[in-house]
Amino acid sequence: MNLTIVVLAALDGISYAALVFLVSVGLSLIFGVMRIVNVAHGSLYAYGAYAAATIGIAVAPISPWLTYPGLLLAAIGVGTILGGLLERFLLRLVYGRDEALQLLITFAVFMILDNLQRVIWGVQPIFAAAPLQLLPNISVLGVGYTSYQTLLLPGVAALTLIGLRYFLRHTLGGAVILAVTEDREAATAIGINPNRVFLRTFILGAILAALGGALASPTTSLLPGIGTEMIVLSFAVAATAGLGQIEGAAIAALMIGLARAFAIYTYPEFEVLVPYAIMVLVLLIRPQGLFGATRLRRI
């Protein structure tokens, strides 16, 4: 392995990690606050992607630059509407119920959304690459990269990370979310309405998933089933990091992204195995994930 390969694989790994981070951080956030593993998270990713492509195809003839606000609009729209409906009218009914039931209800939502997606957008691949084509290519060591993937995606991911950190640590809304994460009963006791916090958190997480999908849409064909793979992948990242760990998700996403890229450069056959192997190894050594903390039950 020479330096060229290291540099190229690192670039590929980072751009991949950026997308995976955006999706998994939403999953992680929702789990941290609500203790629900949202299997439908991958569907939100898919809907974000499809919505962005739909808007993109509609506005591109006017001006391709409009597709950028289109991406954002798709993410916020899908996250707010779909996320809001799901939390308010479904998840709220199962709080306090068996963990298995909560997980399974999101599994049911996943099945429905997956099916509905085919009904809405059909089965033919959809491609809306305007945002990608607008930005110039850059050349690294003689290899052409799109600046969309090498600069924009990691940039958005970094901004999201910084923004989330700031929101959680330095704003009242964030402080309330953190309080509920750490001790729901105590938070309720001091007058925080957990339902409102749950709704906000779920919408925020859903927006992040949809944003991941929207940002991915210019680079890939949209097809039935794009969400299915994303669920386990973001799950692997979130679990490796420790559920609820924001910064951890970024590091785990980088680990998995880089390992995958290096696998393709050296032993491409192991590419698919990489995220899951990392997840197994990490969980075996640290069951709470790389950055998660354990709690002892009081007796």
Binding site: F31, R35, V37, V39, L90, L93, V94, R97, D98, E99, A100, L101, L103, L104, I105, F107, A108, V109, F110, M111, I112, D114, N115, L116, R118, V119, T228, I231, V232, F235, A236, A239, L243, E269, F270, V272, L273, Y276, A277, M279, V280, L283, L284, P287, Q288, R297, I299
Partner: protein, 318 residues
Amino acid sequence: MWRRHRVLIGATLVGLAAIGVLPMASPSIVTLLALILAKGVVVLGIIVLLQAGQVSFGHAMFFAAGAYAVAFYGRYVGVGDMLLYLVFGAVAGGVLGLIVGLFVVRYREIFFGMLNLAFSMVLWSLLEKMFHYTNGADGIRVARPALVGLTFTPDQFSYVLLYLSFAIAVAALFAVQRYLESPLGSMLRAIKSNETRLEYLGISARRVLLVGYVTSAVLAGLGGSLVAVIQQIATPEFAYWTKSGEFVFIAILGGTGHALGAFAGAAVFEFVRFYASAQLADAWQMILGFVLIAIILLAPAGLIGIVRRRSAGERSAA
């Protein structure tokens, strides 16, 4: 014996009637019924783990282990005997269950579920990637085996499989019920309500769970080998996470309070999927999703819970 097991014996008789009568209405249902019974055996394993409050989102790995044990035998050794296949499937599930179990029984709840998922995804990607041994995503065909040396025409064999699946399902049902009522089974349920106390009674919760885990893996392996023969194929899809989700789905649908829930759930699930995909080719997933939501919201104890509530109501009315 009769009194304690009257529910199971009653269910067995209903089952017997079903597999006797339904095929007369529609011959293709023979295979569907066998499939339901085989899947019910797998779901029994999920129900065992649910007694301890643990949800495995990776149980498809043992299901696939059973199926591939059969497929590999057929591919590298030659067509074997059905009984041998079943033993192989159960052993493959059990051995893998023991290996994975030694790791995962240290974890609980979401971590337990996640680790199971991770292991199953590793197996899935290996099955996909080891193309030269596993034939990749297309899977390995399983030729029709003999049963204790007897060979059958395809038509006869579908009936043989149905009766065999039924026998295995009944045996598994009684064995699991027996296990759940035994001290070890009671301790398994105690893990769910208070593991700390269990340890303070001098009982290793991990070992109790390991026994349950291996039991459920054996059931999954057994079911997997049956399905491989019924379907005549083993594919990596057998190990994918959506398969695991399907098993948990069936368990919740049927109800986890009784071993019978596994079969009730499997029957409803497969019939809905079968008829929905036949009548409304592109809506079966959605229909199943709505059925599941309805069950969770309206009848959290599953189909078995509905039946129980009914019969309890009748009894108190009488």
